[in-house]
Symmetry: C2
Subunit: 338 residues, 2 copies
DNA sequence: TGTCAACCTGTGCACGGTCACAGGCTGTGA
DNA sequence: TCACAGCCTGTGACCGTGCACAGGTTGACA
């Protein structure tokens, strides 16, 4: 019997109570943990729930409790950089799945333009979601400052440079990953490993360079480093620069796959074969890595694990746990370019 | 003054009413359209809203109205095919933006596994969202049947083959797009245009082939058609088949960019130059189209417009309008391959 | 002057839960 | 026999909004 006692609409907690011969309070107790409820009452309620086909009304529950049972996936990327990368989709999907497993849902918030940012901030501040999964590459994001100031539970994807300790985060081991790649390049016999680094105000720009420097130790030489901004074009330009400053280089570690793609194009233009003359290593294992010519050796970011971890961490923060910063290992994916 | 009259929590409609010297009902009327309310009362309420910093509580509103002010973006792709394509992200982002403009939000629902499908169906049936933006490539999707049976407002992305007329949809002009591509190939002097078609139980498989056939008219020849399943590998295999059956072909129209990528690989393997010996045209303008070697000439799907149109259509359906099917034009993007 | 429509306003109830509190029952120990 | 703790249950208030209804005011018109 899936009809309701009252006859109209979906069965409510009252219908269940009536069917079970108990009060609303008891039904509520059974639904939420069920402490201090006699076995007979619990069984009766559970049967009544099954009989009536009762499902709790989230809107009513949210109104009463103030919680919403959903998290926001907040994107603060003005450009479509993240969007263009299949990894982003993996992150999004992973988060949605991790939430679905807990009976929660994911609300997608896009905050590209200033107007959108305001709306998103208002939406979050209004308590429509219990917390925020923040996806942002920029270190000095004012939106993050806003979230922190309002005390909204937040987990950042990637280390939030200006807010260390103030907000929980999940990030890949940038330094360790960079060191792994440099070690790999040198292990295959390369002597002079150059680097195309990213902007220093992003964690990927800063810490991947740190890892490169750490691994090289005394062999580190400023002339072998050039900078890009994660675009393909900037990688190509940085490579041009390196070929002038350090023409004897025999390997390049790019701080992102996109910049590696640009670097490869430049190398080819100048007649340097990849990987025969110059080995090229990237970072991210973005979608284009496998389809590049030659297929790119790179550091894989475990976005599926990262998103699951972010969800777990955020729920902890919501429950009152202190902020934590979790680091996930990057893994070397050897293809052809190095 | 952004504090509340009662002192605790956020200001409610009562606080606004008190501040404006009117009743709750009048405040409610001002908020919702404001018909039948005197100019003075409206002004007083508006000022009171600004003074108190009042924002309407969606949970309470949803409980009272039964509406949720959000739509679901429902993905029914078992594999990550859609996810791997940046176009998917454009679709998602476009939908989120179109909703944000209306003060609504987008809930992401992933229904890959059977369990996920059930949960998603239950979630939707529970009235957590007002309607569903369905993203599915499979024609006979049981989830769609379920949605239709339950009378849940739905808009499909792409023509839902088994449900013509039963559900609103937004799709690209498959036939017209295919004809445009074939016309382009012939206009550049190609005489024997072959086709790598997709599965006939998908709209892209069926209608792009129809367009190809229509455009060729009397010149259509069954031997010049092979089938794939949208994967790169299947495109490569179909191309092998075509080279055997119709070795004199001088152009290929692939029903997707991924299959075009496979076709190009096969052609190169057999020493046919692209586009010198064989011109290749694709469909979708997927992310990989621009980075293929040579860059792929293809039909661009306007996913940004499609998503906005889907949202508009779904809101119409929710408002009680009859189901409509809207077709958006695909545009030819000429790169190097044809 | 009475009737009536058009306009504006306030009030009570409903939406479907949660939670605090009071109170009943039972068994134990003084 | 009484006090009291431990367990279980029911009730009323409340979360913040929308909506139907009733009623009040005003002006036009017969």
């Amino acid at each position: 019997m899936v009809s309701t006692a009252t006859g109209r609409g979906r069965p409510t907690i009252r219908d269940v109570a009536a069917a079970a011969g108990v009060s609303r309070g008891t039904v509520s107790r059974v639904i939420n943990g069920g402490h201090w409820v006699s076995p007979e009452a619990r069984e009766a309620v559970e049967r009544a729930i099954a009989d009536t086909g009762y499902r709790t009304n989230q809107h009513a529950r949210s109104l009463a409790t103030g919680r919403s049972n959903s998290l926001a996936f907040l994107l603060t990327e003005p450009q479509d950089m993240l969007f263009a990368d299949p990894n982003f989709a993996i992150l999004l999907r992973g988060a949605a799945e991790a939430l679905a497993r807990r009976g929660m849902t994911l609300v997608l918030l896009v905050a590209g333009t200033p107007t959108e940012r305001e709306n998103a901030a208002a939406y979050v501040a209004d308590g429509h979601v219990d917390g925020v999964l923040l996806i942002s590459t920029h270190a000095d994001d004012p939106l993050l400052a806003d979230l922190v100031a309002r005390g909204i539970p937040t987990v950042s994807c990637g280390l939030p440079l200006g807010f260390t300790g103030q907000v929980a985060s999940v990030s890949v081991d940038e330094i360790g990953g960079a060191r792994t790649m440099v070690r790999h390049l040198r292990a295959t016999g390369r002597q002079r490993v150059a680097m195309v680094a990213g902007p220093l105000d992003t964690p990927g720009g800063r810490y991947r360079l740190d890892g490169y420097r750490d691994e090289l130790g005394a062999d580190f030489d400023e002339r072998y480093v050039a900078y890009g901004d994660y675009t393909v074009e900037s990688g190509a330009a940085a490579m041009e620069e390196l070929l002038v400053r350090a023409p004897d280089l025999d390997a390049v570690f790019a701080a992102s796959d996109t910049m590696a793609a640009g670097a490869i194009a430049t190398l080819r233009k100048h007649g340097r074969r990849v990987p025969d003359d110059v080995a090229v290593g990237g970072f991210d294992d973005a979608g284009l890595a496998a389809t590049l010519d030659p297929p790119l050796t790179t550091m894989h970011q475990p976005f599926d694990l990262i998103s699951a971890e972010m969800v777990g961490l955020l729920l902890d923060v919501i429950a009152g746990a202190p902020h934590k910063s979790v680091t996930m290992p990057a893994s070397l994916v050897v293809r052809t370019s190095a």
